[in-house]
Structures are given as C-alpha cells and as structure tokens.
Amino acid sequence: MKPDSQPPTGPASSDRPILPRRRVGRRRRLDGSGLAGWLFAAPALIMYGLFVLQPLLLTIQYSFYNWDGVGPGEWVGFANYVRVFTDPDLLGPIFNSFRLLIFFSVIPVTLGVVAASLIHRIASSRFGSAATTVIFLPQVIPLVASGIIWGWLLARPGVVNQVLEAIGLERIARAWLGDFGTALPAVGMIGIWVLLGFCTVLLQTGMAKIDPELYEAARLDGAGWWAELRAVTLPGIRYEIGVCLTVTAIAALAAFDIVYVSTGGGPGRATTVPGIKIYIEAFLQRRVGLASALAVALVFLVLAVILPVQRLTREDRT
C-alpha cells in the first residue's frame, strides 16, 4: 500500500501494519467459500494485479534491458545491476538512504517512546492529549508541504538561524540545506518532524494495553519513570516498536517527496536518495533499464531491512 506517495511517511504509511500476527485456532471454513468466495476477492486482486504486480514485473523486465524509452530495448543481462552496485553515483544514493534511516527511523522511534511514556505515565490527561494532538499534526499535511515549510525554516534567513543567533550561536548559522555537512541531517530533521507524531501515538496505544498490574508491581518496588520504562513499558510495546520501525524504515529508504522539494538531491549529490535517482535516470536521462534496476534493488533493500525487524518483534509473541 503505501497510499502515500512516498510511502510511509505520510499519514499514509502510517498505518501500515506490516505483517499480521498469526491467529491461533483457525475456524473452519464456511460452505460455499470456494468459487463464490473467490468472486468476492477477484476484483481487488485484478486491480492489484494490473496496477501493482504487473508494473512490478515490468520493472524487473526493464531492468535487464538497455532502453531509452523509445525504440527497441537491448538485452544486457545483469549489466544494469552490476552498475548499480559499482557506480559511486548509484551507490551513493543507497548509502544516503541508510543514513536517513537514523533520522527517519531511529530518532523518531526513540523520541516517540520517551514522549509516549511521558504522556502515558506522567502528564495530566489534558496536557497529554493536547500534546498528542499537536505532535500528530504534521502527519496529516502533504509531505510536499513539509518539505516547503522546512526549506524555508532552514534557509539562511530562516527561523533556525534566527534562533541560533538569538542564543549566541550565530557562528554555526548557515544555509542548512545547501551545506554538504548538514544537508542530509537537515533533510533528516524534516523526517523527524513528520514521523514523530505517528510513532508517539502508535506507541501510546501499545502502552494503553499493558496490564496496569505490572505498573502496580513496579510501583511497589519503588521504580521511578526510568526504571518503569525499562522494566514494564518497553517489553510491553515490542510489537508496536516493530511496526514503528518498519513503517519509518520504509519512509526513509523510499523517501522522495521531501527530498524532491527541499533539496532536489543537492548540494552535489549529498542528499540524492534512490527515489530521486530513479526519477532522474528514468525521466531525465532516460536510462530506463538502469533506473529500473535501481528500483528493483530498492524493493529488495526495503525487504532486507524490514524482514529482520518483523522477526525480532514477533519472536516471543505467539
């Protein structure tokens, strides 16, 4: 799914549950579930097949050709893949997307855990729900808007520098998105802003399901916020953390909207991510085969990153 363009980040991905937990005890099948049942499933399957699976197979097909989008393509075997994994111009974006993982995934999830547990255990319910609402806000606006807003915030005359100057740090003020050292973290900052709310709220619901008796017991042991977080909360929200990591990891690896509008991949190639490179190669350079190979690589990369996360979070929940 990933209803949102860029997958997850938007509200969109927000919710994507990634793998269903297996249900124990299957019910027996109902009568008439054969042909008639398939008729119910068929329309969805057809649309999915036509507009998702078919294009995916075509992407794989294109990736074995040298094709400029016009004329006939030329079969080149794995040459495009070799190039994807040897050409620094194509490897660079992949590395960049891994660096984005830190900002889109690790930081929002960590901050989210802290924020959610504070809201859950410490804040008054009024303040807590106000905080939830506010922090969630960036989730509902288009990622493009987030990119534009932050593009302005991080500009030379923007608020970020203004704040720095106000607290006497004018020496580090700069055009954050135009500086090689800071462009990628600055894009990452946008990701944090967008994804923090999603993580916070999701983790909160996980916490709400924790048996209050566990907190009771922790309290008897004299646990403070921190001890309680480690002993009770974290183990209780493993599954939700897994979902958060999965959703945000997809957002990081498949980032496009935010980068496209805030930096366009620059300066140099400092913020070029696979999505941007695929767009440029496919539609500007018209190396459709190469772009497709990178796209296929991206699909596998996403799977390679999120499957272990799934395993991790599913292990002891049968």
Binding site: G49, L50, Q54, L58, Q61, Y62, Y65, N66, W67, D68, G69, V70, G71, P72, G73, A155, R156, R174, A175, L177, G178, D179, F180, T263, G264, G265, G266, P267, G268, R269, A270, Y279, I280, F283, L284, Q285, R286, R287
Partner: protein, 476 residues
C-alpha cells in the same frame, strides 16, 4: 536563462499484451465523456504542413496581409499550449502582445523552474498533449528521438533562410547528431549575451573607475572588494536553478584558451573534450576565487532569483549574468548598474561571451505548429514585438539584417547591445557549456560545482567528472 534540454519518446518496446488488452477494455467501459478533455479545449486547428501551406492560401479570409502568405494562426479560435521558464517575463509579455494583435489566439501557459522544466521536457514532448511552444535550450537528443518539429519548411516559407545565418546555427542539428549545421529544429526569441554586471556605487568604493581590461585587474578588484568587507561576486549555485558558477567558469575558459574547442564540445563534435589544459587553468582560477571567499558562503543554497534580488539590493559588487536580466536590474538600480565583457588574460586579447538564442521549439506532434511558427516569425519581425524584446528581454531580437534594433529604454541594455556588437566583430560567441547535452547541467556541472564550493572537488576532478558524465550520456 538559456540552457538545458532533454528528450524522450516512446514507441512501445515492451508491449505487454494480454493484461493490457483487458485494461483497455475496462477503461473503455469506465471512461466517460470528458475524461479526455484535459487536452486543449481549442477546436481542432486544421494543421497544414508548411509545405502545403506555402502553396495554398488559407481558405479563411485573412485579417492581416501576412496571414495570406504562409502558415498562420488562421482566424478560428486557437489556444497555444506553451511551457515557459519561471522568472523570465519576456515570453509572457510577447504572448500578451501577440494575443492583442491576433485576438483569435489565446494561451495556455505553464511554467516551472529550470531544472524541473528540464526534467519534464521529454515527457511533455512525447506525451499526448505535446506543447506548441516550449523553452528548449539544447535539443540534440530530442531531435534524435523525433520529438521536435523540423522547421526547414517554415524557414523557407517565412524567409528565415535570408536572415544572417549565424543566428540560426546553434539551432541546427545534422544527421549525425552534431549541432551547428543541418536542419533547423528551434528558433531563438532573441539572442542573449553574458558578461559581468556591476554595482556602480560599490565599484566606486573599490576604486574601479573603468572596467578591467585583464583578468589580473579583475582579480585585484575582487581582492579589494573582499578587503573592504564587500561581497565581491554575487552568484547562485542551488540545485533547482542549476550551478550558476558555470558562468564565471566559462568566461575564464574563454580567457585562458581558444573558444572553438569549447563550442565543439557543446556541439558534440566527435572526440571533443572539455578537460583541456587551458580549461584546467580556468577551473583552477575559479577554485582560487572560491577559496578566497569571493562568492557568498551559502552560494550552494542561493537560487537564481535570490541572487539577483540580493545583487539589486546592493549585496555584491559584481554578478556574472546575461542581458536577459537587464530590465529587472534597470527597474531597481537604474543608473547604478553597469556592464562589461569579461576581460581577456592579456590586454587586447580575444573578447568572448556566451551568446545563445533564447531557444524555443515546437513538439513534433504539436496541434498548432503553424501558429507557433507564425509566432516565431512575428517575434523577429513585428515592430512592437521587437521593442518588447529589447525593453523586457534586454537582448538583440535578431531577425532580418535590414531591420534596425530598436533603441532600448534601459541604459544598461544599450550597453549590452553595444558589447554584443563587439563580440560579434571579434567572433567571440560561445554557446553555454551547460547546454552540451540535456542532462550535463543537472548531472554534471551543477553537482560538481557545488562540490567544489564545498571543498569536496578540485579543478582537475571537476573537469574529469564532467567529461565522464558527458561521454556516458553520449554513449547511448
């Protein structure tokens, strides 16, 4: 600003039948009336090819004498579908004037920033609503893919082949894909000129009484400006606008070496190489400027329009730019802005400037090609259009040799027009290195120049990387 290009098309190399046929059926079933009405709402304009049109007169009564002669916009409602570049008023003003003179013509104009426009161009041209008029600085690959209309017949019909031919050369593409000869595929709305603009007040402060005559003198002025705490050169180098440091770089290249190899590289002559000794010296010179802090420290984040706004606002003694910006400079700075051609290494040496047509093309499948061609001819020959061209565009309108260039309202334009004559006399016209291939700017010059600013790339590496990118793009 003039540069960039792209290509793309499609004939269906990978037709997936089966499933597709099914889709087509599904679609036929659910596409209601109006679904396709996204294209121009204009009634189908009978498009005659230029060849036919020259022989036959249009059957509709013509309102103007010119209309009777060749391809025209006819008298029925026409909506010209056009794509322009954000930040440049000239095409918009010409379009308005054209509609004023030919009320049956209206415009559907879309615009975007340079890099975005370049990214979209191949898709636009090969899409099912191909533009009648599109900003298009270089076009070899587009021609190669058959996306652009061949204008030879129009040239014959309108007599463009009687004009001074130097103004059409850059828009010709030969069968072997080199530019500079062959069939005509685009027209310039005018012919621009680049050089150095300066803020007269600030120039006074650094003791510049007259324009520098050698690169060394210019260096001294830059150093003086820096020493006085002024911003020596205002520039742009952000991704969306493209690497504006290519301007000073190319001027330095022309100062350090002959311009022919540069033009050959731009025109994609076989074996052309940008990585030459004199170009290396030029790139090293640019690197010294960067290291000396002559450009704004945040230049990688400055967009084209920001740079100009800051220069107009008094930030920056010099700016490398072209005469298309004249009207805007004049509006805010008036007498305070001056212009000089970039000086040669030795006094009296070769004068050179980038001089490119403000190129527009017609999509091969454009529904209103005749009208668009008629527009080209009108821009170059109509008195009002030529006046707009000079006043708003700031550049030489070109056209027939016997038509005078109208006097400009902005003093700065008279300066650049005079400088243009000098360059023409010295045969010092170059196209832009950013126009060599469609993607060389976005994928070569811009990122490499940005890295040079960031201290991640040196002069030799820059030229090597750009040459490698150039070759990889041509190889296809």
């Amino acid at each position: 600003m003039p540069w960039g290009n792209r290509r793309l098309a499609w004939r269906g190399a990978f037709r997936s039948r089966g499933i597709l046929a099914l889709v087509a059926v599904l679609l036929a079933a659910c596409v209601g009336p109006g679904a396709q009405s996204t294209t121009t709402s204009a009634p189908e304009q009978p498009t005659t090819t230029a060849a036919e049109a020259t022989g036959t007169t249009q059957d509709s009564p013509s309102t103007t004498e010119m209309l009777a002669e060749g391809p025209s916009c006819g008298t029925e409602e026409v909506v010209l579908n056009a794509y322009f570049e954000t930040g440049f008023d000239l095409p918009f003003e010409l379009a308005d004037e054209f509609s004023a003179q030919f009320p049956n013509v209206s415009w559907d104009i879309k615009q975007d920033q340079f890099t975005n426009l370049m990214n979209a161009t191949p898709r636009l041209l090969s899409g099912d609503n191909p533009p009648d008029l599109i900003r298009l600085p270089s076009m070899v690959s587009l021609v190669h893919d058959g996306l652009l209309k061949n204008l030879d017949d129009y040239a014959a019909a309108f007599g463009w082949d009687q004009w001074p031919q130097s103004q059409l050369l850059q828009n010709r593409v030969a069968e072997d894909g080199t530019r500079g000869s062959g069939s005509l595929y685009a027209m310039g709305l005018n012919h621009s000129l680049t050089g150095v603009f300066y803020n007269k007040e600030l120039a006074d402060q650094i003791g510049m009484t007259e324009p520098p005559t050698t690169v060394e003198e210019f260096d001294a002025l830059l150093a003086e400006a820096k020493a006085r705490g002024l911003q020596p050169i205002m520039a742009w180098n952000a991704t969306a606008s493209g690497g504006g440091l290519a301007f000073p770089l190319q001027h330095l290249m022309a100062a350090y070496g002959p311009i022919e190899p540069i033009n050959e590289w731009i025109f994609q002559k076989p074996g052309a190489n940008i990585n030459t000794e004199s170009n290396l010296a030029a790139a090293e010179h640019l690197q010294r400027w960067i290291e000396a802090g002559y450009f704004p420290e945040d230049v990688n984040a400055i967009e084209y329009t920001d740079a100009n706004a800051r220069f107009r606002g008094g930030e920056g003694v010099f700016i490398f730019n072209g005469d298309w910006e004249n009207a805007v400079y004049d509006g805010e700075m008036g007498d305070n802005v001056g212009f000089f051609l970039f000086p040669p290494l030795e006094e009296g040496g070769q004068l050179a400037a980038m001089s490119a047509p403000l190129t527009f093309g017609i999509a091969a499948g454009a529904p209103n090609a005749d009208c668009a061609a008629f527009f080209f001819n009108w821009v170059a020959t109509n008195e009002a259009a030529r006046q707009i061209n000079v006043d708003v565009g700031g550049s030489n309108p070109g056209g027939p040799a016997d038509l005078p260039v109208p006097p400009a309202s902005a003093p700065i334009t008279n300066e650049t027009l005079a400088a243009g004559a000098e360059v023409a006399k010295a045969n010092g016209q170059m196209d832009f290195i950013a126009n060599a291939t469609g993607a060389i700017f976005a994928e070569g010059w811009t990122p490499e120049l940005q890295e040079m600013v960031g201290g991640l790339q040196d002069a030799a590496g820059l030229l090597e990387a750009v040459q490698a990118e150039y070759e990889s793009q041509l190889e296809r």
